[in-house]
Amino acid sequence: MTVIAPAGAARTGLIDDEPELKRSLFRSVLNFVRRQPLGTFGLAIVIVMFGAGLFAEWIAPFDPEEIDFSAMMQAPSWVHLLGTDQLGRDIFSRLVFGARTELIVGFSAAFAGGAIGLVLGVSSAYFGGWFDLIFQRVLDVLMAFPLIILALAVVSVFGTGVQNVILAITIPLIPRCGRVVRASALAVREVAYVDAARALGFGHTRIVLRHMVPNVIAPFLILLSAFVGQAILAEASLSYLGLGVQEPVPAWGLMLQGGAEEYATTAPWIAIFPGLAIMLAVLGISLFGDALRDAIDPKLRDR
């Protein structure tokens, strides 16, 4: 016997679900805010950073690359909210546009490094044997170098510029992600549905991508949030060393390079504000990442 629900009832049900969904989402957000005040603070910073990066053209009062010799090294004022640098460029505008550079580099490197690490880590756990053994030793070698050292080596090979900086930060992130993901994937490999998929004759690619990867996504997402912060910090470090993004592109580390060195005592605002921006961005992303872990991890969720 087939039971067909009345059309009106179904429609009514749908209409009733929407406010419920909204209420549920609102409650979840409220719950997150109440339980994770620091994480909320971090999220707020991330949102502000995103907003600045996305709407830089509308927010920044000046062209970030425009040199104004009549306004060199001016202290913060109503015209130049955060002052000007040694070439008379508006620091607030450069910070706003710099957020875009940081987001592009930070997220691109984190996602690329994370994604490659995810696939390689899961594959390593899935195949095991010689592949796993050799792959893990390669990761050991790569992880023996601190992130910034490896990034420096990559930049020295490929050169400077935004794309190369992304590449330079992506490469050191791959083994870090691969190692953590592999640990989670080893447990997933043993569960019944993976055996079932094998028994059904599914290919390796399908088993890895469709059945294993989704089950290690929670630790991966947490890792990703940490990677974004690390990537931003690495980009700032590379730019500070003159090996990252190059003038006149606005980038926070690059802003620190010229100003912090020469004018720390005579025009400290040139160094303070980019430094503050880097600190807040990394802090915000780290706090949000911690809160996300607490929210997602079932062991920590009810604490």
């Binding site: 690359e65 425009e66 040199i67 010799f69 060199m72 040694q86 070439l87 050169g159 400077t160 510029g161 003159g242 190059q246 003038e247 006149p248 010229g258 912090a260 060195e261 020469e262 004018y263 005592t265 005579t266």
Partner: protein, 534 residues
């Protein structure tokens, strides 16, 4: 004792500050180690004949001898030269076409072997007549030299094709180090990676990118010198590191020069413990488009690049934050051969009305089909003034609709990019030693004549105009000929853009004595007469 007095030699536009009162009258003290900062990541090579950079001179000059040089106690002089390896300055014979140098017989290389005229001959032949496969950066300085001979072990003879007032200043070039003939014959490239000379110091060690250390040469032929027991050159491309090193007395000096902020910071914090010497600098950045790449093969595009730059507004503003000061053409400003402001303003890129110039630049770009042109500006990873100049230019070019990305590379790859032509437009430098405009301007000749010219162009007219000026002996006529060569180079063909000339500021610990500033950071760098008063 702190002194900061700049004295301009009006005739040649040189400025010399005489440091610390009676320093010259004091008796030099023996001993101590001079630690000095080298503002580079490393030297591209140690071969002075091949290189044109201070990174090479500041690294290796203390280990070598030269035939003649500027007086160590008056290095700003453009007319006075003294012997280093020779025994007395020669008087030209054969109607000014033959110069015979008698050499010292008490000179030993650091390996203990005797230095003879054969070594001097081999070195000078490498400089003036480089064999295929070797590079001599200043070969065009010696076009007047017909041949060099060594009739005996203590005599070296230069025979010229024609008399030239440019010859002696060219021989005093500080890169003309004397190498050992035997080593050159085994491998003409040996000196690129090794150091073995007869200078006041012997090499102790070199750590790439970190330091170069030397010890006093006890067999040095200028008796009593050097005064120091040892020298340590530390590579640091970042200015903050160098300023901090001097502030903390971990280093005594950086010989190249600091920007006003570095000087002001050290003087403010250390007062009389810092002495400053300043001078106009026979050095400037030149912007070279690659004529072998489109659209820079089109003179209209090159002229547009020059027209966009507001030199008159940029120079005074940049001088507050960078080591640049004076607008000039191809000749060191202040030299009798240099263009006046009025003469400069007649050329492309120097006009008094920048808006009119930029409108013309946009018109030329449109006509050449290069509107909204995008290109890469290759620059050297040296803050002062390379990156400031590069960033300033990008801002100027943006005003005529050009989109320029700056590619900053370390010194080695920077030279490599220029030598291989792997660039769109490059921030090059024309830094000379002895002020000798007749030869200094050879940088703007085609590469087949001047190897360190990187524009990649052939221009017979340029060579013709240069030679006309070179052979002229009447100063007034020579000045007119120089104007024609300059106009052709910067305006008619727009081979390069000359950015404001540099200004040399050297702050150092006041206990360092015996060193005098010159208009070139290449001169007077063998460190033999430096001593420490502490």
């Amino acid at each position: 004792m702190y002194v900061r007095t700049a004295l301009r030699a009006a005739s040649l536009g040189l400025a010399v500050v005489i440091a610390a009162g009676s320093a010259g009258a004091q008796t030099p003290k023996r001993g101590g180690t001079l630690t000095y900062m080298i503002p580079a990541d490393s030297a591209p090579s140690f071969d002075g004949h091949r290189e044109t950079t201070y990174a090479t001179v500041h690294s290796a000059a203390p280990y070598y001898s030269v035939l003649i040089r500027v007086p160590p106690n008056n290095p700003a002089s453009t007319t006075e030269f003294v012997c280093d390896l020779c025994t007395e300055m020669p008087k030209p014979t054969d109607n000014g076409k033959t110069y015979t140098f008698k050499l010292r017989t008490d000179v030993k290389f650091h390996d203990g072997s005797k230095l003879t005229a054969q070594d001097v001959l081999a070195s000078w032949n490498k400089i003036a007549f480089p064999k295929p496969g070797t590079t001599s950066a200043r070969v065009s300085y010696y076009t007047m030299v017909e041949k060099i001979e060594a009739p005996d072990d203590a005599t070296i003879v230069f025979r010229l094709k024609y008399p030239s007032t440019a010859f002696m200043p060219a021989v005093a070039d500080p890169f003309t180090w004397i190498y050992k003939k035997e080593l050159l014959e085994k491998d003409p490239h040996w000196y690129e990676k090794n150091i073995m000379g007869s200078g006041p110091f012997k090499l102790v060690s070199f750590d790439i990118g970190q330091s170069i250390k030397g010890a006093r040469n006890p067999d040095y032929y200028h008796k009593g010198q050097p005064y120091l027991d040892a020298i340590v050159g530390i590579y640091a491309s970042k200015q903050a590191v160098r300023v901090d090193a001097i502030r903390a007395d971990r280093a005594t000096v950086e010989f190249r020069g600091m920007p006003p902020s570095g000087r002001d910071q050290l003087v403010k914090e250390l007062g009389k413990e810092i002495t400053v010497q300043e001078s106009d600098w026979n050095c400037g950045n030149i912007i070279t488009p690659n004529h072998k790449k489109k659209p820079f093969d089109d003179v209209r595009v090159r002229r547009a690049l020059a027209l966009a730059v507001d030199q008159w507004k940029g120079a005074p503003a940049l001088s507050k934050v960078a080591i640049v000061r004076t607008v000039g053409g191809i000749v060191f400003p202040g030299s009798p051969l240099a263009a006046t402001k009025e003469e400069l303003q007649q050329m492309v890129g120097y006009g008094p009305d920048i808006e009119k110039a930029r409108a013309e630049a946009r018109r030329l770009l449109k006509e050449a089909g290069a509107e909204n042109l995008k290109f890469v500006l290759t620059n050297r990873n040296v803050d002062q003034p390379y990156k400031f100049v590069g960033t300033w230019l990008i801002g100027e070019w943006k005003k005529i609709g050009l989109e320029v990305e700056q590619k900053v590379v370390p010194t080695g790859p920077w030279f490599q990019a220029m030598r291989t032509g792997d660039f769109d437009v490059v921030v090059d430098a024309n830094c000379q030693s002895v002020v000798n405009p007749v030869l200094d301007t050879s940088k703007y000749l085609p590469q087949k004549v001047f190897p360190e010219s990187y524009g990649g162009y052939d221009d017979p007219k340029s060579i013709e105009l240069y030679n006309k000026m070179l052979y002229e002996t009447d100063p007034k006529v020579q000045r007119v000929a120089m104007r024609a060569y300059e106009k052709h180079t910067l305006d008619t063909m727009a081979h390069a853009i000359v950015t404001p000339y540099w200004f040399r500021i050297v702050p150092y610990r006041s206990y360092m004595k015996g060193w005098k500033i010159s208009p070139s950071h290449y001169l007077n760098q063998d460190l033999a007469n430096i001593w420490l008063d502490k």
